[in-house]
Symmetry: C2
Subunit: 246 residues, 2 copies
Amino acid sequence: MAVASSISTRIINAVLSQKLKPGARLGEQELATLFQCSRTIVREAMVDLAARGIVIVSPRRGWYLPEVNVEMARELYDAREIIETGLLRAFARRKETLDAATLARLRLHLAEQKSALESEDVERRSYLLGDFHVCLAQCLGNQVLASKLRDLTVLTTLFTMRHQTPSDARLSYEEHAAVVDALASGNASEAEHCMCQHLGTWEAKVHLVREHDPLEKLRQALTSPKDLPPQVSRTAGVAKADEGDI
Amino acid sequence: MAVASSISTRIINAVLSQKLKPGARLGEQELATLFQCSRTIVREAMVDLAARGIVIVSPRRGWYLPEVNVEMARELYDAREIIETGLLRAFARRKETLDAATLARLRLHLAEQKSALESEDVERRSYLLGDFHVCLAQCLGNQVLASKLRDLTVLTTLFTMRHQTPSDARLSYEEHAAVVDALASGNASEAEHCMCQHLGTWEAKVHLVREHDPLEKLRQALTSPKDLPPQVSRTAGVAKADEGDI
DNA sequence: CATTCATATCTTGCATACAAGATTGAGTGA
DNA sequence: TCACTCAATCTTGTATGCAAGATATGAATG
């Protein structure tokens, strides 16, 4: 009953909302039953997501959300910093200003973020904080990079999911607002600087994960949750690990 | 007999080698016969390529290589400039130097480009000139961005295919060499500058297409080649148009 | 009791059959 | 001659069936 694109969109949104965790198994028959369609459609959605790096397949075992390790996370944050600051830098060089409608769209997005933050709607909050970056890329006029950035954002969410706290969320919101304020005042270079700093604070946390908890990898390796995704077993079990069972 | 990934790789390489032109139709049964497999496998490859933006599907009509128009080409070149100069900039900021093996890989690639250039092997020349950018991204250490960049490179090839001349190719090679020379001498900022200039010359041509030939769009719109991809009909027929039939 | 091996079961991999939309071209009527 | 209709054909869209690998279970064996 559902088309493949709606399934992949639903999965992406579920990840951004932190409703699906790294290592989660995506069974073909389960999804087919859920969406009332055949496995053919589900497989189409899985192949689509796999091409974008959002799911990985273990032959004859199943489809899984990747366990993003620290090395991969660093690459992802580097990539995002390059793309997002690059977009702002290119915008600044063009010496354009955002038109009123675009600016309104960004302000509306900020307002929604704030609302989700204050109502402590964790799922919506997580979704919006990630989606803001994609929204901004779209507003800056490059749809190609915006779509690539969405996929990167999904993957970074799979990593940060294990570490984000409410105070992190509040800080993120404020840094987002700073970017938009800078753009609104016509100072795109300042916006670039703000964004660089914003992503930098996250990227710094990536390094902290290693330094602050050198046992993390070993603990992860020795944890044995029920569905252990096989080919990434080095980092498996993380989703469970921070739920208090170690 | 073939797996889906080998089919998509073959198609990508064929585009980079300019053996497949924009607007080309990719019939499922044709490919299945060619690769001695079922349509299921072919469809898997098509869905994969579609997720990466390399093919587009016209419902119940078929799969086509996109006709990249000027607006899209500008986005693509902007995206490539952001990613490629961004990678070099990040590398420069890290103050690392390329190790000998990596440098050797780049020099070998340059030698192959030169060889293809001198032997006038057009297909290999085109492939290598595009692949160099992906190779460089890999050498700079970000596999995620390298894979995204490959897809962007395929699409820009679909655009430039109509305009590149032998002298353009020679210039590209020399600009590639300048980038590697700068990296070899430890001056990554200079490499970034070279790359920016290199991509800039191409992006400038994108604008020239419009300015230099204002009738292009009209000519394209009024051209009626045999397989007219329907949903991009505004720019259809370009592949045939520059083969001398107008 | 630990280990190994066989078997049952579950899940994905792939081919194929059929449904349904799109195109083409012949034929018909004005 | 032109426009329109309808059927034949071609191509993709989707479901399903079977093959085959992976895992789990449990009995047999040392």
